[in-house]
């Protein structure tokens, strides 16, 4: 089984978000990193850019394929994790510690559209 953390919210497209003080920290799930295989490239939208829930906010690529990262929440990008951009394999090592983007939420109600850990676990089957 793939690791799912209790305290996070999940999208059906395999991103996670953790919200604190109106700021969402966003990454990809253990299931996602495992499906992709060795990750060799990561990019995120630049700070200042607006993203919307379910829309693109970056991309992650393995040797074989490119795959978009979908924003689990709408808002303004505040920060991109440069360490992950420079060391993409960190996402394989620990996809929950190694976040990709921080987004200032424009609508906290959107969190209701996301899955909790228990429902996301079912999604993976």
């Amino acid at each position: 089984m793939f690791k799912v953390l209790e305290n996070l919210k999940y999208s059906k497209t395999h991103e996670w978000v953790s919200v604190s003080d109106g700021v969402g920290t966003v990454g990809i799930t253990d299931f996602a990193q495992h499906s992709l295989g060795t990750i060799v490239y990561v990019e995120g939208y630049e700070p200042g850019e607006e993203v919307s829930q379910g829309g693109e906010c970056g991309a992650v690529e393995s040797v074989k394929a490119a795959s978009d990262i979908m924003a689990p929440v709408s808002g303004e990008v505040l920060e991109v994790n440069e360490e992950v951009l420079n060391n993409p394999e960190l996402l394989n090592d620990d996809p929950y510690t190694n976040w990709i983007l921080k987004i200032k939420l424009s609508d906290e109600d959107e969190l209701n559209a996301l899955l909790d850990a228990k429902d996301y676990e079912k999604e993976q089957k």
């Binding site: 295989g37 060795t38 060799v40 490239y41 693109e56 991309a59 690529e61 040797v63 074989k64 490119a66």
Partner: protein
């Protein structure tokens, strides 16, 4: 119908991630693409190639028929040597690329791409004309392995008294491995030294497990693609298809225009005389990003072509691609851009020698 090769159960047993390719369920990777890629470059890896097609041509007109059918000169080729050639449409574009194994003047085996086997077989039958030849699709009678990498020779030598170092690049022979009969050529599709091995499905299964037990890395289609790409070898459906000619694809080494008539020759002669309008080039990215097959190429605002295959070479930060560009932008050093997710990323045209091949041709 999706088919399985004779090794399907072995792939499952060895925990391969299975994908569909060319109508077959094949292993994409057993461990991960990068480590399998490096095993072939530094040690040895074995691939299941049983999905590929084997078409046998026999009869007294074998050589004249093949010289009319494919681009290479089979008449002039040495016996027990393989030659690279292409099967063309009348308009000079590509039906498939293949290896001709010339057994003797009346017997040749064509090894073709899995996804094209039925198409090729039909096409060959349709062009048989009055040639006195027999054409048999024997694809189901053969299993095939490719043993690739610098340790291939020592690994295979453990299984036979035949002096394999005498088998030079692109030659083949009937060789016994642990008493079983195989056809083995010194060849491959990775850019590293190695062997391609044909045998009955049951013997191929046994050999596969034997190589595994002797420490050879099992390799899937994922690294087969990164390896052949790094060696700038074309793949049907990417670098070659029914929209391009061998000359545009840079494959003139597989085309003998001098040998006399063959299907598609007139168009190639004309193209050679008038000059090409597009050609396959090597591309190197100058900024961050990975160029993938299908991405568009630009010179300023003008679309000048498309990527056919692109990768970050495993275990490096180098991002290379192959792609077609209009001839006026095909000079080495020309600065162009690749459209990646709506962003233009700087790149330049370079030679296709991504890999320094370390074995003697």
């Amino acid at each position: 119908m999706i088919q399985k090769t004779c090794l399907y159960d072995n792939h499952v047993k060895h925990n391969a991630k299975i994908v569909e390719f060319g109508g077959f369920l094949m292993p994409l990777e057993y461990t991960d693409i990068t480590s399998e890629h490096l095993a072939v470059r530094n040690d040895a890896g074995v691939f299941d190639c049983s999905h590929m097609g084997e078409i046998l041509v026999t009869g007294k007109d074998t050589l004249s028929f093949l010289n009319y059918l494919v681009t290479c000169n089979v008449k002039e080729a040495k016996a027990m040597k393989m030659t690279y050639g292409l099967l063309l449409y009348e308009n000079g574009t590509v039906v498939d690329d293949l290896m001709v194994y010339k057994i003797n003047d009346e017997k040749c085996m064509l090894v073709v791409n899995a996804s094209n086997t039925d198409k090729d077989y039909e096409y060959i039958l349709a062009n048989k004309k009055d040639y006195d030849v027999k054409i048999e699709n024997q694809s189901n009678d053969y299993g095939q392995l490719a043993l690739q990498g610098p340790s291939s020779l020592s690994q295979l030598q453990k299984l036979t008294s035949y002096n394999l170092s005498e088998l030079k690049y692109s030659y083949f022979d009937y060789i016994k491995l642990d008493g079983k009969d195989f056809i083995i050529s010194r060849s491959g599709y990775t850019g590293s030294d190695g062997f391609e091995i044909y045998g009955s499905p049951i013997d191929i299964i046994e050999l596969f497990e034997k190589l595994y037990n002797n420490g050879v890395q099992l390799c899937g289609l994922g690294c087969r693609d990164t390896l052949r790409f790094e060696a700038a070898m074309p793949l049907y459906g990417h670098e070659i298809n029914d929209q391009v000619t061998p000359l545009e694809a840079g494959l003139s080494f597989g085309v003998s225009l001098e040998k006399g008539d063959f299907i598609g020759r007139d168009v190639l002669l004309k193209q050679k005389e008038q000059g090409l309008t597009k050609k396959l080039v090597g591309i190197e990215l100058l900024e961050r990003g990975i160029a993938r097959g299908g991405y568009e190429l630009y010179k300023d605002d003008e679309k000048i072509g498309e990527i056919t295959t692109g990768y970050m070479i495993p275990n490096t930060n180098k991002v290379y691609a192959l792609g077609y560009v209009k001839i006026e932008y095909s000079k080495i050093g020309e600065e162009i851009s690749v459209l990646i997710r709506n962003r233009k990323v700087k790149a330049k045209i370079r030679n296709k020698k991504f890999l320094n091949k370390e074995y003697a041709r």
